[in-house]
Amino acid sequence: MTATVTPAPVARSNRTPRRPRELTPLDLLTLGASAVSAVCLNWLVFARMVDGIGWFAFMVSAYLTFVAIFAVATTDRLGRLVAVDRVVTVVVISAGAVVLVALASLILFIVVLGIKALRPGFFFNDQSGITPVMSSSAGGGSHAVVGTIQQVGLALVWSLPLSIGAAVFLNESRSNWRRPVRIFVDAMSGLPSIVAGLFIYAIFILPFAKSTPVFGYNGFMASLALALVMVPTITRTIEVVLRLVPDGLREASLALGASRARTVWSVVFPTARTGMTTAIVLGIARAVGETAPLIFTAFGYDLMNSNPFNGSQESLPLFTYRNIQKPDLAAVERGFAGALVLMVLVIGLFIAARWIGRDRSRRPTSRSPLARLRTKESSR
């Protein structure tokens, strides 16, 4: 393909390529001028002629004026068809910008508040010997980090076989029970996460806590509650991923003399491998941020407890939740530090999920940025 295009630039170098959809400098000027005049008009009306209407209403009004002016100006210059196209483009882009601003300010808020108490010591110390008069950077949340890793790790151990089994059952079997199971999994994914915690509390901790510490407040109980939250998420995601595996591959495998189980194991799983890994990482990311299931199970604890089967345990969300409720400012700042660490962890997990799930099955040549650049160059 590129071979036929490459000699072209020499032959028609005197031509200027036309791009009908591209914005000209005049278009950009119209856009900028509309924005400036909208702000000026609103300022004139609301700040000079009346007594002001508050910043939020001013922004909404200015935006609407901007869209109106831009629409009129573009209609006048290029006609109705182009104007509709441009106005819709502007509205869609600004809607995206609003969402982005909201997200960015949320992240910024946590970062600004959390960075104050976040020192390297956060990952090496627990809250032993911390009194309300000490600064927020004293002590740390290592016990919460350890708790989170242990609880989520154990939850993964319980939920992974269940989820993969359920997803395979839903997608690869021909049982009549698939429908009820699917409805049940759906219902479970809508389960309020505090109910998962309460459930574990009611069936294990309440009746058995007195007889053995394994069924008391501890990380193990928390991992069971978290597994209840993870199983439906992972199951549904894996099921979707398995459904994306073309039936032609299953047929091809069966036609080669494979059993159904062998087909699932050797053809379906490898084909869906990246998707399944993504599903698992997303399940972890979901569980890592859960606070509610832990309140009645891990309970929270200020000191390091690295045994998940005995004694109450902290975790990052619990650490945040418990510290922010405290009356002294230093504890609140520690809480935000916990939230920041948690957020970075979740973002890291999502990035990992995207990275694992990236498409590597396509032809490497056409996908590489270098090759794409070359194609662009030669088509110019």
């Binding site: 073309p246 032609g248 591959l249 069966l254 080669l256 003399g257 053809v267 490898p270 084909t271």
Partner: protein, 309 residues
């Protein structure tokens, strides 16, 4: 029937397995750049636990097929002789593909599918209660309409996937890969990139990879369900050449909508037709020459001359 089964396949005679693999690997390197006819003389790589050697005769007796309550195929009697290419022709929806899928027990995988009659593979019914569908499908390979190489596997692993999936062992995997790809007419194009993914090939190459994959388990019969319908004329030609080569060692049954193709590649032809609201039936069968020059039934004549369908 048995005479034709053994005659055109000298390389299929059971070798002493001890020196067979040694021969194969020696020949593999010696014949790397040899001419096309060399691979047919070369003793083929031995498999352990695979199908018995040689091509086999398929014999359908009064075969019927249902989807749910709907009878789609009725009373098909058709012999597909060993070592020959049999083409199934007919308009769409007349049950050719269904019949093909009856032959290696793929039909029963469709929910609600049912069947009747007997399909004899070298005289034994493949639908006898004691027979495993997996064993049947290993002996009767299949190539589908749409190329479907396993995307998670390399070209080499695709060819060898049948061994893993059907639990067949082979001592000379490299030799098997080369031999299978050579039979499918793909070896020269891919020998330098056996470890690149199968999905990176062109459509025609993918289909030939699928043929190589089916051949790697040394099936007795190869079913092809419109293998060229998604391909361009050049790739189609390559695959037709491949089919002509294959008849030396495997029985081929091919469904095709392309009359010229049926005429070019097949020895025998069966014309399927489904009248309105009727199940599909075989209207006429015979040698390809007969079917295309002097068919007994006017409907066959009309169809092969392109007057309908």
């Amino acid at each position: 029937m048995t005479a034709t089964a053994s005659a055109p396949s000298p390389n299929a005679s059971p070798n002493a397995s001890a020196n067979a693999s040694a021969n194969a690997s020696a020949n593999a390197s010696a014949n790397a750049s040899a001419n096309a006819s060399a691979n047919t003389v070369k003793p083929r790589v031995e498999l352990i636990g695979g199908p018995p050697p040689g091509s086999a005769t398929l014999d359908a007796r009064d075969a019927c097929a249902w989807f749910g309550d709907r009878l789609v195929l009725e009373g098909v009697d058709l012999v597909m002789p060993a070592g020959q290419v049999t083409a199934l022709i007919g308009p769409s929806g007349c049950g050719k593909s269904t019949f093909l899928r009856l032959l290696n027990r793929m039909h029963e995988l469709v929910p609600g599918a049912a069947l009747d009659g007997e399909i004899l593979l070298d005289g034994d019914d493949i639908y006898l209660p004691g027979r495993r569908a997996q064993e049947i499908r290993t002996r009767i390979g299949m190539v589908f309409q749409k190329p479907n190489p396993f995307p998670a596997m390399s070209i080499r692993d695709n060819v060898l996937s049948g061994l893993k999936l059907a639990k067949i062992r082979c001592s000379d995997k490299d030799g098997l890969v080369e031999q299978s790809l050579e039979k499918a007419g793909l070896w020269k194009e891919v020998r330098d990139r056996l470890s690149s993914p199968g999905g990176a090939l062109s459509g025609g190459q993918q289909q030939r990879l699928c043929i190589a994959r089916s051949l790697a388990v040394h099936p007795n019969v190869l079913l092809m369900d419109e293998p060229c319908s998604a391909l361009d004329p050049t790739s189609t030609r390559r695959i037709e050449d491949t089919i002509s080569e294959l008849r030396k060692e495997v029985t081929v049954v091919i469904v095709t909508h392309n009359m010229q193709q049926a005429q070019r590649v097949s020895d025998f032809c069966a014309f399927f037709l489904a009248e309105e609201n009727e199940p599909g039936r075989v209207i006429e069968q015979g040698t390809t020459t007969h079917m295309f020059s002097t068919p007994n039934d006017t409907r066959t004549l009309n169809y092969v001359e392109g007057r309908f369908g």
